[in-house]
């Protein structure tokens, strides 16, 4: 009885990578990757392009399958159970957004609820709720994606990912293609949103500033390996060579910009 109680106290990580490797056409993309993400955490995968960040993300919703090792979602290997169910329980946001150009915004956001068989009324209400949540006007519902700005489109992308209220959110450089001001705005809004929703977020970026703002922890990756996992504060102080290289490059950027202003 006591054992049962203790078990429920220590909930399994929401996402867990167990010794995951991925290779394709002889290229080792990911090797010996271990990471645990607890409920309500925002873990940022930080690294340069080709470091295996996006691959790790796609392994979670099984857009890719690992060559070895396993990924557990809520304690269960993600290969167990239905693939489609798994994906519908995980929100997915990508840099290019990928809105359906032939659907209105309403249909874009309401697609998963619709194929899940929600009644029309409930879908419409949910779409309006989500538009408000991501800071878009209700009138946008009847527009088409090409009539929206990049920032609006990405907001819709986030709303669409949240439609069926998934516990997990996978975000692959969601703000990467936006101009700096819009990007900053969306990051800020995302943080506010996350304070309310407490989703478990796995977030990919190559931008340290973004990682520091978004992440409750930062997982630093390099050539398919996990180098270290640190809180934003510890990351800034870290003596780990790659981490400090990131911080240095980031600081130099600010410094040189400032110097150029004074000289």
């Amino acid at each position: 009885m006591l054992g049962g109680h203790m078990e429920s106290a220590a909930a399994p990580p929401v996402i867990e990578f167990r010794d995951v490797s991925y290779q394709i056409a002889g290229n080792q993309i990911l090797s010996g990757f271990n990471l645990q993400i607890q409920s309500g955490e925002s873990v940022v995968l930080l690294g340069r392009s080709g470091s295996g960040k996006t691959t790790s993300l796609k392994l979670v919703n099984r857009l890719l399958s690992p060559s070895s090792g396993e990924i557990r979602v809520k304690g269960v290997p993600n290969t167990q159970g239905d693939l489609i169910r798994l994906r519908r329980s995980i929100g997915y946001v990508i840099q290019d957004v990928g809105l359906f150009p032939h659907f209105t915004i309403e249909r874009n956001i309401g697609l998963v609820p619709k194929i899940e068989g929600w009644p029309e009324e409930r879908i419409r209400a949910r779409v309006q709720e989500l538009l408000q949540l991501v800071g878009l006007a209700p009138a946008i519902a009847s527009r088409y994606p090409h009539q929206l700005s990049g920032g609006q489109r990405q907001r819709v992308g986030v709303a669409r990912a949240l439609a069926a209220d998934p516990e997990i959110l996978l975000m692959d450089e969601p703000f990467g293609a936006l101009d700096p001001l819009t990007r900053d705005e969306l990051r800020r809004e995302f943080l506010l949103l996350q304070q309310r929703l407490h989703k478990t977020v796995l977030f990919v970026t190559h931008d340290l500033r973004e990682a520091l703002r978004i992440g409750s922890r930062i997982a630093l990756m390099e050539s398919g390996r996990l180098i270290t996992v640190l809180s934003p504060i510890d990351f800034l102080r870290s003596a780990e060579p790659l981490a400090s290289a990131y911080v240095k490059a980031f600081g130099e950027g600010l410094e040189s910009a400032a110097n150029r202003g004074t000289s």
């Binding site: 489609i84 994906r87 957004v97 359906f100 194929i115 669409r160």
Partner: protein, 210 residues
């Protein structure tokens, strides 16, 4: 001398041959769509198959039409009916544009859109019917349009094996060295081609995703 007076005088026959022509083109295009669209969908998803399938369709396209009609003539069940034979030959010719445009249309769908759809948990058939096909449909239809225009022209040659159609007038006119008779076949055929081109073009624009 007047072509139109000739056509007016023989309007029964002009109408009959036009309808025959339409029948040949209509059936063959439908068959080609039934075969070509699924084939195009399959090769868009199985890249390994696209080369052999497109190459085969290409090869068929290079066989001269008169030769193809001739080749098929001795085939038992087919050869016994000129209509059947003509429809089969026209179907084979219509395949290439339909397969190729289906393939191109589906491959042309933005990869991010497909990835987002798959990541959201659309099944492969939901992805096909709700995303890929609607976005590819205008490209696919322009293939159908090309196929129809080609068929209208090729179907005139079907008269050589006795399948009827407007080619009857053309061959008869050639034999009689009478331009009026040739034109009585050629003009309605050209009009049919233009009309079909226009109609499918209109449909294509209507269905084009915004």
């Amino acid at each position: 001398m007047n072509v139109f007076r000739f056509m007016l005088h023989n309007h029964d026959q002009v109408l009959e041959l036009t309808l025959e022509h339409l029948r040949l083109v209509g059936f063959s295009t439908l068959f080609a769509m039934f075969i070509g669209i699924p084939l195009g969908i399959v090769i868009a998803h199985r890249p390994r198959l696209n080369k052999p399938v497109l190459a085969s369709a290409n090869i068929i396209q290079t066989i001269p039409s008169l030769a193809l009609f001739g080749f098929l003539l001795p085939v038992p069940w087919l050869g016994s009916s000129a209509d059947r034979l003509a429809i089969l030959a026209l179907t084979l010719y219509a395949l290439l544009p339909i397969i190729r445009n289906t393939y191109t249309g589906i491959c042309g769908v933005d990869a991010a859109v497909v990835e987002a759809g798959r990541g959201m948990g659309l099944t492969e058939s939901q992805l096909l019917f709700q995303v890929e096909l609607p976005l590819a449909v205008s490209v696919m239809l322009s293939g159908v349009r090309v196929a129809i225009v080609i068929s209208v022209g090729l179907a005139t040659i079907a008269a050589a094996i006795g399948a009827g159609g407007l080619g009857e007038f053309i061959f008869r006119g050639l034999a009689m060295v009478d331009n009026r008779v040739i034109l009585a076949g050629a003009i309605p055929a050209a009009l049919l081609a233009l009309l079909a081109d226009f109609a499918v073009g209109w449909l294509e624009r209507r269905l084009r995703p915004r």
